[in-house]
């Protein structure tokens, strides 16, 4: 006697569910005039650089923010069906993953010409749109200048046990490892990572590394330059006692990491996507980057970076082809030694 009632109850619950789902599904709908940008760069920096893009072109932007390797592997998994039109990375190894998989469309020559050659791969499938340099952050009261290491490789020395900090889970540190791998080879990198696994405290972010150095929790930490400069610009809220040490001399520790921008070959809005990358690398956007509080290096030809930063030609960065960094090799090595 109650069978029909049960059937109706079931149907009703299914209806309620479907209703709930459809109502939500609409939120994710996109139309032809919206570009989906997978972005691993800092939100504030990207938003500053694309300022005015929508007004000028009528193209809306929708961002999916994430971590370099996460988003790159995600796009690889998504393959042809990827919703992404443009990929912006914080560091170049991840965009290279896509390049090797043949997922990137060649960029317009005019776009490439806006950026210095050392900031883009010879393949022409992506381009740098910002750059950051590796630094050692330390508290001079605890680690005086005379005791600073000469090379980032020295940090694997047993003398540094328990004294250094790294953000091993983040893409920034992994890019630095990629540079070490490209410059020193696999065996030296493995040995170095094994030393770090023993010596280092692992933090969630570069900022956390800087705060730990500032408060003397560690003697020194590896990170990028702009965390410290930004903090200084805000009167040293988090790192007033911390100072930076630049390795220079072409040391892997002076690695200059390039943030890459590329257009997905699978995108059905090629023209709009190319427009966005051109916009990011144009002198106007590069100038906005230089004048912003992001304090990363501008890479546009003829655009000078923020004045507070040491000029790029003085930091002694090693020569690394941005197209030669091996993300998968880094992940495998870090898993092998137990840093991941």
């Amino acid at each position: 006697m109650t069978t029909p009632a049960r059937a109706t109850a079931a149907a009703l619950s299914a209806l309620a569910l479907a209703g709930g789902l459809t109502a939500c599904g609409d939120a994710g709908a996109t139309d032809a005039e919206t570009l989906t940008v997978y972005s691993a760069q800092h939100e504030s920096l990207v938003r500053t650089m694309v300022e005015g893009f929508t007004e000028e072109t009528g193209i809306e932007l929708e961002f999916r923010d994430g971590n370099d390797a996460e988003l790159a592997n995600q796009i690889v998994q998504e393959g042809e069906a990827s919703p992404a039109d443009v990929f912006l990375t914080e560091n170049s190894p991840s965009i290279d993953v896509l390049d090797r998989e043949g997922l990137l469309a060649p960029l317009d020559q005019a776009t490439l010409d806006q950026v210095g050659e050392q900031f883009r791969p010879s393949s022409g499938t992506w381009t740098g749109f910002a750059a950051r340099s590796t630094v050692l952050v330390h508290n001079p009261a605890q680690l005086p200048e005379a005791e600073l290491p000469a090379s980032i490789m020295d940090l694997a020395d047993p003398a540094w046990e328990g004294r250094i900090g790294i953000a091993a889970g983040g893409a920034d540190f992994q890019a630095i490892v990629a540079a070490v791998l490209a410059l020193r080879g696999e065996d030296a990198t493995r040995a170095w990572l094994e030393g770090l696994e023993r010596n280092a405290n692992v933090y969630q972010s570069n900022t956390a590394v800087m705060v730990a150095a500032d408060e003397g929790e560690i003697d020194a930490g590896v990170m990028y330059h702009y965390y410290w400069y930004r903090d200084q610009a805000e009167n040293g809220l988090k790192g007033d006692d911390a100072a930076l040490h630049l390795f220079g001399n072409g040391d892997p520790g002076a690695f200059l990491s390039v943030s890459g921008a590329g257009v997905l070959a699978s995108s059905d809005q090629q023209e709009a996507a190319q427009q966005l990358v051109a916009y990011l690398t144009a002198p106007e956007a590069q100038q906005r980057l230089a004048e912003s509080t992001a304090l990363e290096y501008a890479v546009g030809t003829g655009v000078a970076s923020a004045e507070v930063l040491p000029p790029l030609d003085t930091i002694g960065a090693p020569a690394v082809d941005p197209g030669s960094l091996d993300q998968d090799g880094v992940t495998a090595l870090m898993q092998e030694v137990g840093l991941l």
Partner: protein
Amino acid sequence: MTALLAAAVAALALVPLGYIVTATVDVGWSGVAELVFRPRVADLLWNTTRLVAGTVAVCLVLGVGAAWLVERSAVPGRRVWHVLLVAPLAVPAFVNSYAWISLLPGFDTYAGALLVVSLSYFPFVYLPAVAAFRGLDPALEDTARGLGLSTWAVFRRVQLPQLRVAVLGGGLLVALHVLAEFGALAMLRYPTFTTAVYDQYRATFNGPGATMLAGVLVLLCLVLLLAEIRLRGSRRYARTGAGAARRLRPVRLGALTGPALLALTALVALALAVPLGSLARWMTTGTSAGLDVATLATTTGTTLALAAAAAVATTALALPTGWLAVRRRGPLATLLERSTYLGSAVPAIVIALALVTVSIRAVPALYQTAPVLLAAYAILFLPRAIVTVRAAVEQSPPLHDDVAASLGASAPSRLWRVTLPLLAPGIGAGAALVFLAVVTELTATLLLAPTGTTTLATAFWSASSALEYGAAAPYAVVMVLLSAPATVLLSRDARRGLTT
């Protein structure tokens, strides 16, 4: 028909487990050996087990001790203490962790993690312990005392055995929560399997490294579930007849009143005053950013919409299972109900990882859309809805429906006019529990939120990860305010509503 629907729900709940098993088979033995049998996994295993064991032990002591004081002793202000001891549930563990670490940056140690997690989770033991004390006829204790047992001996030999099932259940809940905890431990830099799976996810998306760690994590959960079943044992505690319970005479504490009050005050101060105080401090002195009211309002709106949709969907999914469990008792109903519980015992990070992969490969049209996120919420929180729906069905006799039918009411009209009104309170309670759980869900939301969707938890997370404590505070405050009503409900009726 209902059985089919319930089977579909069970199948959905088992997707994450199925994914892990399939992925393990794909990786193959040599791959598993390489990714699982390595020093890093041994470290994580040690870290995870000692934290789980420590937290369960601390929570058992705090929970049972506090419950005894509130239910059996003459400590002053027992009703107030009861509310204050449930209130920490309104503060999500990751907010509690943020409160401590932003005050004491050196708190990222084992002891720090143990303290923060225990303070967040001890109510999971406290609540069932209180319920068990209330259900216990004081006559037994009086008899024991009459036979010459001391208060301590009464506690150990009469009360504790009776509390065993309830307290073990609470302990299991604590253990499963610690295994699944991501935000609180990531902030305290205490690596466990769950945080390591997230790191792997950040480095490889859903690569084999992430799935294999997730597999180990799932195994740990299963071991816990089995251990709890064995520990529960087969002794019976029910009396033959309900009888009339004797009136309770609270134990006078005498000279111990002072220390007891001090202990309760310290517990409440650490579990409640510290996080609320820290939030207040960051709200007033936070310098990282001014309060952006528009963004906060939009984020709150998104969170509420998602939570409401999840509440509707999850309760709807719970109906067939809850109905079947009562009206068609039998091995099949039990199997289907248990399957959903098993699926929910899997940590959120694993559920999210599984759904990302399954949606890319099997249902690309749904990939990165709200339905996938809602499915994750449903898998996570189904037991809350099923338990309440089930209780409601149990209380509504089929007779009403039959009478309505005999009076000529059609099936849809019976459903609308008889069945649903009878079930409404249960359905509502279940929906409310799911709603509140979703408001503070972090882990699955981080991985599955559609492009451009930010919730209170993820906004809080991105600000606090960048150590912008001031900017994170408003989101935490809204989450606490939204969770507060649920804790009031829980403190009123300790017997209901507390499941995974």
